[in-house]
């Protein structure tokens, strides 16, 4: 432990941005973009910049570091370090609106080599789906309004940053910033009615048919 935090370096290792009601994480050096689940290498102090897209949020992973508010228009900085590998739970601790309770975050600390593997995997673009259902799911993703908010690297037109990046959504542990475990059944449940699962979340209900739900779910499950 340092007596006082060292000053932040000019470019951070990690930029975490608070949104109502989810976390966006960017790794500027590698270009990885993910949401609600941060992977970090063990034994290294990461310089982390905090930003907000809307209201105040607060980044808090009790076992790893202090709280720090994300203030729109004011870049705050903290250090993030895990000495042992493991999954560390965190949460938004500044009240930010309806779903403040489900604005949780997972920090996965891994050995540097494993972290490097994860980073390489995250950098890959999504592959075109092969199964018939999944192809239909992708078409649905492009034609309904999904792409006006969500990005999927490798899908033309899907580059919006309003909602979580889905390029590797199936590799993440949780859905809806912590409200559901990430299983195919839960993905389907979420797509069926996000407003029922997480009322007040900014994703509206789309009233998909059962068939469409199967297609979308199957497609999203390919995004590893």
């Amino acid at each position: 432990m340092n007596l006082a935090d060292p000053p932040p370096p000019p470019s951070p290792d990690l930029v975490v941005t608070g949104h109502q009601f989810w976390w966006q994480a960017n790794y500027p050096a590698s270009g990885v973009v993910t949401a609600n689940e941060i992977h970090i290498p063990t034994g290294k102090a990461l310089s982390m910049r905090l930003d907000s897209k809307d209201v105040l949020h607060e980044f808090w992973v009790p076992k790893l570091n202090r709280k720090m508010t994300t203030v729109p228009g004011q870049n705050n900085h903290i250090w993030l370090q895990a000495d042992k590998p493991g999954v560390y739970l965190g949460t938004c601790s500044e009240f930010c609106g309806t779903q403040h309770a489900w604005m949780r975050i997972v920090v996965v600390a891994e050995e540097p080599s494993k972290f490097e593997q994860w980073q390489q995997a995250q950098l890959r673009s999504s592959q075109a789906p092969t199964s018939d259902t999944a192809v239909k799911g992708l078409a649905l993703f492009q034609t309904s309004t999904c792409i006006s908010c969500h990005a999927i690297h490798g899908v033309t037109g899907a580059d919006a940053g309003v909602a979580p990046d889905l390029t590797h959504v199936a590799s993440r542990k949780q859905l809806g910033a912590g409200i559901l475990e990430n299983t195919p059944a839960n993905v389907r449940l979420w797509l069926k009615s996000p407003q029922h699962i997480k009322p007040g979340a900014l994703m509206p209900d789309f009233n998909y048919t059962d068939k469409q739900l199967d297609q979308l779910t199957e497609y999203l499950e390919t995004l590893r």
Binding site: D54, V55, L56, W60, Q74, H77, T91, A101, R104
Partner: protein
């Protein structure tokens, strides 16, 4: 009018049904401090039940993980309303009620200095309560937490009218609190009985006198902040909207510059209560009277400089963190002194373990815990972990409930006999006490640990993490014991009011003047006052052979400042705080310029001309005052009319400036310069306008022939206000018009 006719008229009034209705209405139109006090207390009790039920619903929702009992929005509205209601509609009114009842009695006064202002101050509370709760019908209660952090509280993120009603309600209640504080200060300064010198004041009165000054300094800051928030929300200003260059952190500074002193505004009266009850029930004078009084002043002063400890996680930077950390730790010293005083008073005393004392003993222990967790929040690195967690929730409930509510419940038991003439039941009081002790500690001790485990505050539910579930369940069960305690209390109040044991004038053998009159006291409080030579006049009466040492000079004459002067000067202090906040906000954004209009658009020479008119009007008012004292009616009227005319010219000048800006498309929503400019000068203009109305009233009164006798304190008071408005303009002129020229 002779005595017989008075009695006859009185009897007729009692017998005539129409007039009887009038007497019932007398509770609504009363200006008697005792009746107003009872109205405060009943209002507080009503909202205590409301906010308590809100808490019950929240704890039910949190009893189990992933619970769907309440909709998240409902939960968020509940905690916002619970916090706002408990602070502004329960604890403030309840302490104001006791102050209103007891303070004038303790200093041997007939009433507060300004009885009608007192009634006004009270009626602000129900008005605020209605406004706040009306939001439920107008689209939804506010759901932003009691400190309404921007930008969540701004229209893009809270678009219904909840926050507007919340802000207006608190604004109104703030005005009510300020008016009461003015009244308290003027009463203590100007209405003390002969012999009641400042050094002989009972500690409850002393502490509330000091407390009134915190109100005077803190509440106007909040009201300035609320005005800015409302300008943002309703007129599209940009104070706290980062998207438009505003600052979310500025709101936090403004809010907590009020919010932390507010904690002491609530806590100091509780200290006052304990400082009364502990000596009486230990059968000893308070240990270290001077230290209790002086430490209250130290707390008041320090409380104004500690707000930043609410903001250690917003990135204020190390120097500010350090400053606020040290200031916050310092405040533990005078607070610790008080705990020592109370404990030392009990040592060697013949303690009577009756209900008021039981509550005070529990207060001492729980307040000590609250203080220790409080200091932990002053330690920056600890605060980084515990802030915004259930540890914090537990801490401030230890302050608000464990300390303040317990002291208030002691006060209820202690002063109820004075108010009603009857004792509260000791047996039911014990039930309330033990149920409260059990319920309170069961609910809140465990929350410290929940916070340390990582449960954030203000979540409507939580995942099923290890220990979370049983801890939350235990906390919820505790609430039911507190609810039971509240039910027993209400039953006790009703049953004892109608059938309690008769109390007599001085049921506790206490020593302060409120016990020197009947229970309840007559309309103007005292038939006769005992001589006041020490801090315990009733002890001296009861023990003429061994009276307390005389405090200060043994003279019954005390210097009395005119109450109008005391009142207006206090009012001006509060207004100064309001304008200082607006000025600082102006300067803050002046240092961070935004694109769009700048101070260079302003017409400085023309403004200087009409400023001269305003400054000249101070001079003409002064001349008018001199003429009044010399009883030269014509000259007085002439100078006063000239004052009004000059003030009018100033307003016309400011109006033309606004008009020209509007013509060029600049209004309050254009950019931050415009927002701050119109807010600052607009509020000043509003004050000039109100001053003009007051001066016109005085002009009319003088025209009718009032003030013919020479000295008139009310006229002088209006003069102070008018000079103050001019002084504010000096600062505005320098800041807004002259400062940019120096660049």
């Amino acid at each position: 009018m002779n005595g017989t006719t008075t009695t006859a008229m009185f009897r007729a009034a009692i017998l005539d049904p129409a007039k009887r209705a009038h007497y019932r209405l007398a509770w609504l139109s009363t200006v008697d401090h005792k009746r107003i006090a009872v109205l405060y207390l009943l209002t507080a009790l009503f909202f205590f039940v409301v906010a308590g039920v809100e808490a019950l619903f929240m704890r039910l929702q949190l009893a189990l993980p992933n619970n769907h009992f309440l909709h998240p929005d409902t939960f968020n509205q509940l905690f916002t309303m619970h916090g706002t209601t408990m602070i502004f509609l329960v604890v403030m009114p309840v302490v104001f009620g006791f102050v209103n009842y007891v303070l004038p009695l303790q200093i041997g006064a007939r009433d507060m200095a300004f009885p009608r202002l007192n009634a006004f101050g009270f009626w602000c509370v129900p008005l605020g309560g209605i406004l706040l709760h009306f939001s439920v019908l107008a689209g939804g209660a506010p759901a932003v937490g009691w400190f309404a952090y921007a930008p969540l509280s701004e229209t893009p993120y809270s678009s219904n009218l909840g926050v507007d009603y919340w802000a207006i309600a608190i604004f109104v209640m703030g005005i009510g609190s300020i008016s009461l504080a003015i009244n308290i200060i003027a009463t203590v300064i100007s209405c003390r009985a002969p012999g009641m010198t400042m050094r002989r004041l009972p500690l409850f009165t002393w502490i509330n006198f000091v407390n009134a000054f915190i109100i005077i300094f803190a509440l106007p800051v909040l009201n300035a902040g609320l005005a800015m928030l409302l300008i943002d929300r309703r007129l599209e200003g940009h104070f706290f909207l980062p998207l438009r260059g505003g600052s979310a952190v500025l709101w936090q500074h403004v809010f907590w510059a009020f919010g932390h002193p507010e904690v002491y505004i609530l806590a100091l009266p509780a200290f006052g209560i304990v400082s009364e009850i502990v000596p009486v029930f230990s059968r000893k004078p308070i240990f270290g009277y001077q230290f209790v009084a002086a430490s209250s002043m130290a707390i008041a002063l320090l409380s104004l400089g500690v707000w930043g400890h609410h903001m250690f996680t917003v990135g204020m930077g190390r120097p500010l963190d350090l400053f606020f950390s040290i200031a916050s730790m310092l405040i533990a010293i005078p607070t610790g002194v008080k705990v020592l005083n109370w404990t030392a008073t009990m040592i060697g005393g013949r303690i009577r373990f009756q209900v008021p004392m039981l509550f005070c003993i529990a207060f001492l222990i729980q307040f000590l815990c609250a203080g220790i967790t409080g200091i932990s929040h002053a330690v920056v690195p600890l605060d980084w972990q515990t802030k915004n967690s259930y540890f914090l929730v537990a801490h401030f409930h230890f302050v608000a409930v464990g300390a303040i509510v317990f002291a208030v419940l002691g006060a209820v038991q202690y002063w109820f006999p004075k108010m009603s003439g009857r004792f509260l039941s000791e047996r039911l009081g014990r039930w309330t006490f033990w149920l409260m002790v059990l319920g309170f500690n069961m609910t809140f001790i465990i929350q410290h640990f929940l916070g340390l485990l990582g449960m954030p505050r203000r979540v409507f539910t939580y995942p099923d993490l290890p220990h979370f579930t049983w801890m939350n369940m235990l906390s919820t069960i505790g609430v039911f014991f507190m609810a039971a305690a509240a039910l027993v209390l209400v039953w006790n109040l009703i049953a004892s009011f109608f059938g309690g044991k008769t109390a007599g004038d001085n049921p506790w053998n206490a020593w302060t003047l409120e016990w020197a009159t009947t229970s309840p006291p007559p309309h103007e409080n005292f038939y006769a006052l005992p001589p006041i030579r020490s801090r315990r006049p009733l002890w001296d009466v009861a023990n003429p052979d061994r009276p307390d040492p005389v405090v200060g000079e043994n003279s019954s004459a005390i210097q009395i400042v005119d109450k109008n002067k005391a009142g207006i000067l206090t009012f001006i202090l509060s207004e100064a705080g309001f304008f200082a906040t607006l000025l600082l906000a102006y300067l803050y954004f002046y240092a961070h310029p935004q694109p769009g209009p700048t101070p260079r658009e302003l017409d400085v020479p023309r403004t200087l001309i009409f400023s001269v008119c305003l400054f000249a009007s101070s001079l003409t008012f002064w001349r008018s005052e001199i003429a009044m004292r010399k009883r030269q009616r014509g000259s007085m009227l002439g100078w006063l009319a000239l004052t009004v005319a000059l003030g009018g010219i100033f307003l016309v000048g400011q109006g033309t400036e606004y008009w020209k800006l509007f013509q060029t498309g600049v209004d309050v929503s254009t950019n931050l310069f415009a927002t701050t400019f119109f807010t600052l000068t607009g509020f000043h203009g509003l004050h000039v306008l109100l001053g003009l109305v007051a001066l016109l009233i005085f002009l009319w009164l003088a025209w009718r022939g009032d003030f013919a006798s020479g000295g008139e304190p009310a006229f002088e008071a209006a003069g102070y206000y008018w000079h103050f408005v001019d002084v504010v303009w000096v600062f505005v002129l320098l800041t807004v018009y002259i400062l940019p020229l120096l660049r």
